[in-house]
Structures are given as structure tokens and as C-alpha cells.
Symmetry: C2
Subunit: 296 residues, 2 copies
Amino acid sequence: MLGPLSAFVLTPFDGDAVDERGFVALVERSAAAGVDSIGALGSTGSYAYLERSERARLARAAVEAAGDVPVVVGVGALSTREVLAVVEDAQQAGAAGLLLAPLSYQPLTDDEVFGLYEDVTAAASVPVCVYDNPRTTGFTFTDELRARVGRLPGVGSLKLPGVPADPDAARTWITDLRGAVAPGVTLGVSGDAFAVRGLRAGCDTWYSVVAGVLPRTCLDLTSAVLAGDDERVRRIEARLEPLWSLMAAHGSLRVAAAFAEQLGVVPRAGLPRPVRDLPAEGQRAVAELLVGGDWG
Amino acid sequence: MLGPLSAFVLTPFDGDAVDERGFVALVERSAAAGVDSIGALGSTGSYAYLERSERARLARAAVEAAGDVPVVVGVGALSTREVLAVVEDAQQAGAAGLLLAPLSYQPLTDDEVFGLYEDVTAAASVPVCVYDNPRTTGFTFTDELRARVGRLPGVGSLKLPGVPADPDAARTWITDLRGAVAPGVTLGVSGDAFAVRGLRAGCDTWYSVVAGVLPRTCLDLTSAVLAGDDERVRRIEARLEPLWSLMAAHGSLRVAAAFAEQLGVVPRAGLPRPVRDLPAEGQRAVAELLVGGDWG
């Protein structure tokens, strides 16, 4: 469905208002660096906190700012009605794909989640990426459900929440999953700390939060992994380790926002309440990381 | 904040549309039976799946249909902005109280949840009931956070997701919690299977899903518990046990909706997609329960 590096961009807030100019700057930054696709309005893009009209406006802005780079737009919402409305808006904006997580309030059964993807793929005219993220949705996919959903016509990709730590186990899992979904459905890894493991295990795509702030660094890492240049991978990973640790402690969104703001990529990368900015000790850790580093 | 029995009513759907007439019939049924308060647009009322305009219309309809019975209106939403807008609508509708769960997409920290209640109580002019339901929100309150939030001016009640199984442990917990929150803040138990335990442990209120469908039965149970009539409590609980089991297996919403529909209280009690009706085997179990029972 997409090339190896997909950069998920932040939606910066200033108080209650979306900073659309900052959002466009982030899309342009990643597109100019040469990422293979842009993810707009994903978890990093705070889609769950936005009104429908804001989502439609930002989807249009993203597609325009990305130029030739395809844009995948997050379309998740708690009700299927709302998802279908947002799908329509995203498609009219020119989305190349739709990212759909099974947001839950009432805990959903496997059949209900399958039904959601059935309803949405039946209505959509561009490929749907199945967004598997138990941390935000509260829903855990089984491999059986991944396979069922991955055989639905209209599904283009599975965005997985990581891969097993053991390289052999990771490769086996990805190989088995590839055999279980429809031919051509791509498998992507997210959780930036899993990127190298995921790509080495055979994932097609790295769905990356950090690439929305540091696209050049993530392109370097991706090309090093794909070239099998283990020494270069180790060098880049060593630089990124402290970032992965901060993300594990505070959530990738809060850390990416602090990074974007401290790097000066956007004037202010506030988060939508009730979510709050990275606390002071995290901000200081980000500042220390930035000192002397060539981050881009 | 409220008397002993609070009946949370369903919001019945017919396909994608809310059946407002059915909703009003449910409010009227519980109010006529003599419950102490009505909970409109709680989890059972599918608030998380409704648009703002629907929530405002149903809040007005509930207050009107409830007559002299106070109505607590659910105001939860993923973004604080949206919560504040819904609070305004609920207050204009005449809500006697506001039920607020810390809905989460990004997992929230304790400080973020405290901040949410701080922001909302500062804006609200009627008491806020803190809705603690980890099953739907993904957020787990600590006792320390319950105490912090329970001392915020403007908080009127804590709605707890159950009490410990051991009666002494339950009584100790409720007594300690009462000492930790501000004077006058009521403690309520939800999870209908915990009602008797909760009231016996000293909870002021039973926030009940079943009372929105079977208000008379729940009033009987409540008065039996408060009168210390253990024999009558046992009799009523024995009738309700199969219902608690079904609710534990399928979620209380799906079971309450099937019950309301099969009892004929509403012509159709559909659920908002992606949530689906109780599966066939559960529907059969509800039908068996109804045979010969004097349910009201």
C-alpha cells in the first residue's frame, strides 16, 4: 500500500485552537525530506480530540502541503456513523488511504470490530489501513481477527503495535501473518522503538511518530536497515535510544510534541486537553538530548 | 447529592437513528416507579456514540419526561473542549447533576484526570458526579486520586465501579473514602451485581443500569437492603442472579437493551454501531428469564 517510511505528523494546538500553519509546516518538512507517505490525523495527529470540521480542513491542508507524497488520513471515531462521515470528508480531501482504529467505549467483541471494518471498507473507495493500537483503543486483536480483517476487500495494510523482541519469533510472526492476509496487503510496524526489529522481520512499512519531527534521521535509519548496514543502524539507534526511553515513560505524543517545539519546527506544539504537555523533567530531558545533536 | 436509587436509562436506536419516543418512555417508566433520580446519557445511554446536538435534545427530553425527579446527565467526551460544550447544553436543559467519566484515547496521567475535573467543575454550576469506570475509559483511579478529586469544590458524588467482595473490606474502604473526600460528597456503587454489597457497605446511592428497565424490582431490592430485611434481599437477588451472570458475560448494555426490547418497554432497543445487539444465545437466555417472571 505504501513505501517503507510513513511519517505521522503532530497536530499542534495553541490552547484550544489548532495551529494549522504549524501543521502544514510539519507536513511540508516530512514531505521535503523524502518520506514515502504522510500520516495525517493519526494518534500523533490527535484526531480523537478534533471536531469533524477540523478534521476535514486539516485533511485538505495535509494533501495540499504533501504535494506528490501520498497522505493517509485517520478516520477513527467511537461511532460507525461518525467514522463513515469522516471517511467521506477524507476521501474528498484526496486521501490516498484511510487509517482506522477500533476506538472503543463499550468494550468491543471480535465480531463487532470485524463488522466495523466490513461497514467501512464497503463504503470506502481508497484502501483502509487497519490500525491496531491496544494502548489507545483498549481493543486487542488476535491473529485470527487480524487474518479475517486482512482478507476483507478494501483493506490495504495492517499497522501493527510492535513485533516480538526475538528476531526469529518476529520473522515467523510476520511471515505467518503475510500468509494469512490477502495478497498485496502490506504489514507495517509502529512503536518507533520496534522499527528496526519490524523492518528486519519483513515489515513493509514503518509507521513512524518520530519521522513526523525528525524525518531525515528516520530515513537514514530506514535505508540503513534495508541496506543491511548493521554498523550504521547501530550508530543511529544509539542516538535514538534516549528518545525511545522518554517515549516509553511519557507516551510518544507528549515527547514528539516537546521535541518539535524545542527544535523550533513549530512555535508551539500544545496538546489537546485533557492531555497536557510533557512535564518539566521530561522537557529538560528533551533539552539535554537536543544539545549538540544534529537532529533533522 | 441524590437519593438511594438512580436509574440509568438506555438510549434506544433504530438503525442509525435515536428513538426519542422510546427514550422518553424509559425515563417516564423509571420516574413513575419512584426512583430517586434518573441518569440520562450515561454509558447505558450510549452518550459516547451521540453527536452534541442529539445529546442536547435528549437531555431536554429527559428533564421534561422526569417531572420532579432530578436528572443527572452524562457529559463525557474525549476532549475537554467538547465536555465543556456538552456541560453547557446539559445545564441549559435543566440537569440536576453532571456525570463525567475521564474518557481516554491517549492514556491519561493522574494529573491530567485531576485537571479535567478541575476545568469542568470550575465551569459547571451544578454538581459533578465523578464517574469511575475503568472498563469503558481505560483509566483506573487510585484512592489517592479519588480523594483529590473528591475534595474539588463542585464535585457532588463519586460513582464507584463496585466494592470489595468481603463485607468488612467493603465497609472499611467506603468509610475511609468518605473520610477522604469533602463532607457531603456522596458515594455511589455501580455494577448492578455489586449493589447489595455496596449499599450494605455504606454507599449512599446505587447507580443502576437495571433500574432503567426494571425500576420496581430495583426499588424493592433497595428498600429491602436499607430495611435490613435479609430474607427479602436474598429472594430478590436470587431472581436477579441470572441477569448479573448474563451482564458479566455480554456487558450490561447489551443485556439491558435485549431485556427492554423483549419486555416490550420499547419497540426496538438497538445499539449504536460498532456495538451490536446481544448475540442469539444471549437473546434466548433473556427470553427464558422472562418466561413466567413478574418483571417490572
